[in-house]
């Protein structure tokens, strides 16, 4: 038997008995970051592959979500900072060792890029749109001329953005649940899947939805594989990893994870997508809504559960 007691002080509620410093703000931000990354990635991808005409909703309309998601996500992040007025300190230095630092820089670049991308399609999306100022019209023409180059930059940065939401957590060696290298790729596929779901919801073109849903099936199955892979790693791991696994196997996050994330957020929508693919009629918003819900729940569970896990000494 070993019993450990803290006999003095340290009853700081955010730290003791378990760490609970990051709340819904971080989960929401990680979700919206992945979503924006997914939306922008597929817009850039279909533009580069010359499918702009067939994939109108993905390349144009869905990208409206990205700057919106980034604004809400960043506001939520700013709200979470305890020393808010000093947030600009993020941009006075580049720290390669810190994922939060290069993530902040990525956001600083990808946010205006997403705005420029959306702006360059405003006239196509809203006929009669007028930029009012000459300089904006000139800038729009410039962007349209170099849109391919912009798409390549966006493609690259959207991958960084989505994978960073996972790497941010996996960089914390003190939290065994997060400190696994698969977390980056897992958040990447999850983020891309939520991006696809948004485009699917927006699209009114049957062919486009079929393409998106086929890719999404692949992403959801990959995500399920990564989750199994993650848990297999914990299963074969040391005591701290076993404690992390226990949270999902009978512990306090069991129901949240298996019902909301895996069953309703992954298995249910992927089944509907497969049914639709083989000819059944499924209202487009149902799988999309559940994928988005599952993605959000996944971040909530991971952020909350990760903070409970720690080194045992």
């Amino acid at each position: 038997m070993k019993e450990e007691l803290i006999v003095s002080g340290k009853n700081i509620p955010e730290i003791y008995p378990v760490l609970h410093l990051w709340h819904w703000e971080i989960s929401l931000y990680l979700f919206l970051g992945g979503l924006a990354g997914g939306v922008l990635f597929f817009a850039a991808y279909f533009y580069i592959t010359g499918k702009e005409k067939q994939m109108q909703a993905t390349v144009k309309w869905a990208t409206l979500i990205a700057p919106l998601a980034l604004i809400i996500g960043l506001s939520s992040l700013l709200y979470d900072l305890h020393h808010k007025l000093y947030f600009w300190r993020l941009f006075t230095t580049v720290r390669i060792d810190s994922p939060m630092s290069w993530g902040a820089w990525t956001l600083l670049i990808i946010f205006p890029i997403s705005l420029i991308w959306v702006g360059s399609y405003m006239k196509e999306m809203f006929p009669g749109w007028d930029w009012k100022w000459k300089v904006l019209n000139w800038f729009e023409a410039l962007v349209i001329k170099y849109r391919l180059a912009l798409a390549w930059v966006m493609l690259f940065l959207s991958i960084i953005l989505a994978v960073y939401t996972g790497i941010l957590l996996s960089a914390f060696n003190a939290r065994p649940l997060w400190n696994v290298s698969i977390l980056g790729p897992l958040f990447l596929v999850s983020g891309f899947s939520t991006g696809l779901a948004s485009a699917m919801w927006i699209s009114n073109d049957k062919h486009e939805r079929k393409v998106l849903s086929t890719i999404d099936i692949f992403f959801i199955l990959t995500e399920l594989f990564f989750i199994i892979h993650l848990f297999m790693g914990f299963w074969a791991g040391t005591q701290v990893k076993l404690e992390a696994l226990r949270l999902f196997m009978g512990g306090q996050f069991t129901l949240d994870f298996w019902i909301f994330v895996v069953l309703l957020g992954l298995l249910f929508p992927v089944t509907l997508e497969i049914l639709e693919l083989i000819g059944y009629h499924v209202p487009k918003w149902i799988p999309a809504l559940f994928i988005l819900f599952g993605g959000l729940m996944f971040r909530f569970v991971m952020v909350d559960a990760g903070q409970i896990t720690r080194f045992l000494y």
Binding site: M1, I6, S8, L19, W22, R89, M100, A171
Partner: protein, 177 residues
């Protein structure tokens, strides 16, 4: 130069004088603390073993808090003391999440705060407040690179352990058995 602290667990009685001394010396806000006492009880009745540990920031050589800090507010100064520059800290909490010892907290003013090894005293050649106030003389502070320093002398001929060595942080608080 390598500042370190040795805690003699055979002498520590868990009186928490070090905790109060730190709070007074560093004007730690009410309800917070930069050091704390842990009581460990091992074994099964009637064969029990109890020991106290006075714990604080480990001033790790490979400090995860410094690595994760996005602004460079968390940094290591000469002698290996890990510090936070208050007006560079954005209060994001990355360092708190990355610390295996949960040694940091968010100060009510917004920045992240922690043990500084009382650098304002150490710079004047004095000991940290916790060391000077300890009634059982169980805390020893000094330069590990200097064989004549108090900490080197205390650790000589004694076996010791550190907390969570598997975290790879190379902590600089040594507990004497």
């Amino acid at each position: 130069m390598r500042y370190a602290m040795a805690v003699d667990t055979n002498k520590c009685v868990g009186c928490a004088d070090c905790v109060v001394a730190c709070q007074t010396e560093n004007l730690v806000p009410n309800g917070y603390c930069r050091d704390w006492i842990v009581e460990n009880v091992e074994g099964a009745y009637p064969s029990l073993d109890m020991k106290f540990q006075s714990e604080r920031c480990n001033h790790c050589e490979n400090a995860p808090c410094v690595r994760c800090c996005p602004t460079g507010a968390s940094h290591i100064v000469e002698g290996g003391i890990v510090l936070v520059t208050h007006d560079e800290c954005i209060g994001c909490g990355a360092c708190i999440e990355s610390c295996p010892y949960d040694a940091r907290y968010v100060h009510p003013e917004g920045y992240v705060d922690k043990c500084t090894f009382c650098i304002h005293r150490v710079d004047k050649g004095e000991n940290p407040a916790c060391v000077d106030v300890c009634p059982t003389y169980c805390l020893h502070f000094g330069d590990l690179d200097d064989p004549n320093s108090e900490v080197s002398k205390a650790m000589k001929d004694r076996s010791w352990y550190v907390l969570a060595p598997e975290a790879g942080t190379n902590p600089q608080i040594y507990f004497l058995r």
